[in-house]
């Protein structure tokens, strides 16, 4: 691939990245970061490729560590993101049973006292 083809891809990817990511709400920024950690694990491909042509002990070690680092990113990143997003997906807990709340006088008093609070 020519350098300029690669540059074209790079520049377009910047625009796509900004367009897509800027629509992610603040609420999801932490899962977004761990998910991008996982996507960054794509560098494992580089580790695999250099291991492919590794020729001596040092290169074996370097390549293996690079693959392991990449795998940490991929496996750890996707799993922890999944775990976090599971928390967001949870249905809201049913509120304290209506029977017990209805029996409380507070629900009735509340309007009068609120007036005092807002007057402050």
């Amino acid at each position: 691939m020519s350098l300029f083809t690669e540059f074209t891809i790079f520049v377009l990817a910047i625009f796509v990245g900004f367009e897509v990511i800027s629509k992610v709400p603040t609420t999801l920024h932490t899962p977004l970061m761990s998910q991008t950690n996982a996507i960054h694990g794509i560098v494992m491909l580089g580790g695999l490729i250099v291991l492919g042509y590794a020729g001596d002990g040092l290169e074996y070690v370097i390549g293996t560590i690079a693959v392991a680092f990449g795998a940490i990113n991929i496996v750890g990143g996707f799993l922890v993101t999944d775990r976090m997003l599971g928390m967001f997906a949870k249905k809201p807990k049913p509120q304290v049973s209506p029977a017990s709340s209805a029996s409380r006088p507070g629900a009735v008093d509340k309007d009068e006292d609120k007036g005092e609070g807002s007057g402050k």
Partner: protein, 471 residues
């Protein structure tokens, strides 16, 4: 040695599969724009990764399968274990570590590329060498910078800014030195010098250490986001070096994401990224603390707080990192449950830098089963504040300080805040009147409609919940 060798590297089939892979990444990120679809989006991205990895394993020239298996096994085991065990309060550390290993992997790949270039003999083409050098530099800076960020977040080293005299000067020298070395390697590229390349890795490593060490705890959200962007860029550089389109696109996506988050965090603190990196401000107990005079505060107990809250219509909880430190999320949720059972509307106002990383507070509250619909962003809740009966500030300080709006001389002047002082009443749950990260007095505590509840966040929230139940 066995080799599957189905796909020629750089061939049409491999490239087509890489295109499928990065398209799935983009689709996955697109689904991440809503909490209900984000989980599926994550799966889609994971499938994209599987496609990319399998494609690469099928390339002609793959080998050393035993070592690949070892690397995969160790990395997967570590990653899986960490992701299952990590507490949500520790997510910033985890992301810092992931940034670190990501950067480290790129630096190692770059080193391997240089060695490969030397083995091949002859001049290494500049269009391969230059991105390799960039990948090495950025990768090494992110690896070491992230390790320091991790150590700070984990309290292994002090979170206050650590600096040496003439720091800026040393950083500048290191930065220039790295560039000069890179230029020398590029000029004498027949073959490239491995010794000088290792020197670059070392200088970049020192630079990574020195840049992050002076940054205080409060600025960590910016640092983590920025290192995230760096690792992305390093991956893209490695993609250029290896002629791999999947790396270029995926790395660029990560880089864009980190850049957007960095800018958002800096805006939320009303500071430039340069100021954060080079001023050593965050976490500094600055000398500006208060005017020294004793001002009167209204102090209340849990019972009074419970009464104020129970008879309100509209309550907003403003959580800060103190809430996470006290592990008070669940107690606060219990308090909110009690209020909601009485018909009180409870929302949460989240400042962008309420945690130790972007969106951290939202995750902590989601873990405590707070529905995400109730998590309101700063810009969404501020116009509502005058209609709020009681705002409860728990473990937050600087982000509620009206001085940011009213006092042009304040160190935090202009920082966007959650305007709790606009609410009819404010209850601040805090252990003492001590200052926040900015080291300045919070005028909010002394306002006539503010009541201070001096207690540990978790204990106070549980007590208030119990009191509300008794009412």
């Amino acid at each position: 040695m066995i080799s599957l060798a189905v796909l020629p590297p750089g061939g049409d089939a491999a490239t087509a599969l890489y295109i499928v892979s990065f398209s799935l990444f983009i689709l996955g990120l697109k689904q991440g724009t809503h909490p209900t679809t984000a989980k599926r989006g994550n799966m889609i991205a994971a499938v994209g990764m599987a496609v990319a990895v399998v494609t690469t394993l099928l390339l002609d020239g793959m080998g050393n399968w035993g070592l690949i298996a070892i690397g995969l096994a160790i990395g997967s085991a570590v990653g899986a274990y960490a992701s299952i065990r990590v507490k949500m309060t520790e997510m910033p550390q985890m992301v810092a570590l992931y940034n670190g290993v990501g950067g480290g992997a790129v630096a190692l790949i770059a080193w391997s590329e240089i060695r490969h270039g030397i083995h091949l003999g002859g001049a290494m083409p500049l269009q391969e060498l230059i991105p390799t050098l960039l990948a090495g530099i950025i990768g090494s800076v992110s690896f070491w910078g992230s390790n320091i960020a991790f150590a700070k977040l984990q309290d292994l080293i002090p979170t206050r800014p650590l600096g040496v005299p003439g720091q800026q000067f040393i950083n500048a020298i290191l930065g220039i030195g790295v560039i000069v070395l890179a230029v020398i390697i590029a000029i004498n590229n027949d073959p490239p010098s491995q010794g000088l390349f290792i020197l670059i890795l070392i200088a970049a490593a020192i630079l990574g250490n020195l840049v992050v060490l002076p940054i205080g705890g409060a600025d960590m959200p910016v640092v983590i986001s920025m290192l995230n962007a760096f690792t992305g860029l390093s991956a893209a550089a490695a993609g250029f070096a290896l002629d791999n389109v999947a790396l270029i696109v995926a790395g660029t996506l990560v880089g864009s994401s980190g850049t957007i988050l960095t800018m958002e965090m800096a805006t939320a603190m009303n500071r430039s990224v340069g100021n954060i990196l080079f001023s050593g401000f965050g976490g500094a107990p600055a000398a500006v603390a208060g005017s020294g005079e004793q001002r009167p505060v209204t102090s209340i107990g849990a019972q009074d707080a419970a009464i104020k809250l129970a008879y309100a219509d509209n309550v907003v909880i403003v959580p800060g990192y103190g809430l996470a430190v006290a592990q008070a999320q669940h107690a606060v949720k219990e308090m909110a449950n009690q209020l909601e059972a009485r018909g009180v509307t409870v929302n949460y106002a989240i400042h962008p830098v309420a945690g130790r990383m972007p969106g951290h507070m939202n995750v902590l509250l989601a873990e405590a089963d707070v529905p995400y619909e109730n998590l309101k962003e700063m810009d969404e809740i501020n116009p509502e504040m005058p209609r709020v009966d009681v705002a409860v500030v728990i473990g937050a300080n600087d982000v509620t300080n009206p001085a940011a709006k009213n006092d042009p001389n304040s160190p935090i002047a202009g920082m966007p805040i959650i305007e709790v002082s606009e609410a009819n009443e404010v209850i601040v749950i805090k252990r003492s009147l001590s200052t926040g990260f900015a080291g300045i007095d919070n005028d909010l505590f002394y306002e006539p409609n503010t009541s201070m509840l001096f207690a540990d966040a978790k204990a106070a929230a549980s007590e208030i919940a119990a009191e509300i139940e008794q009412l």
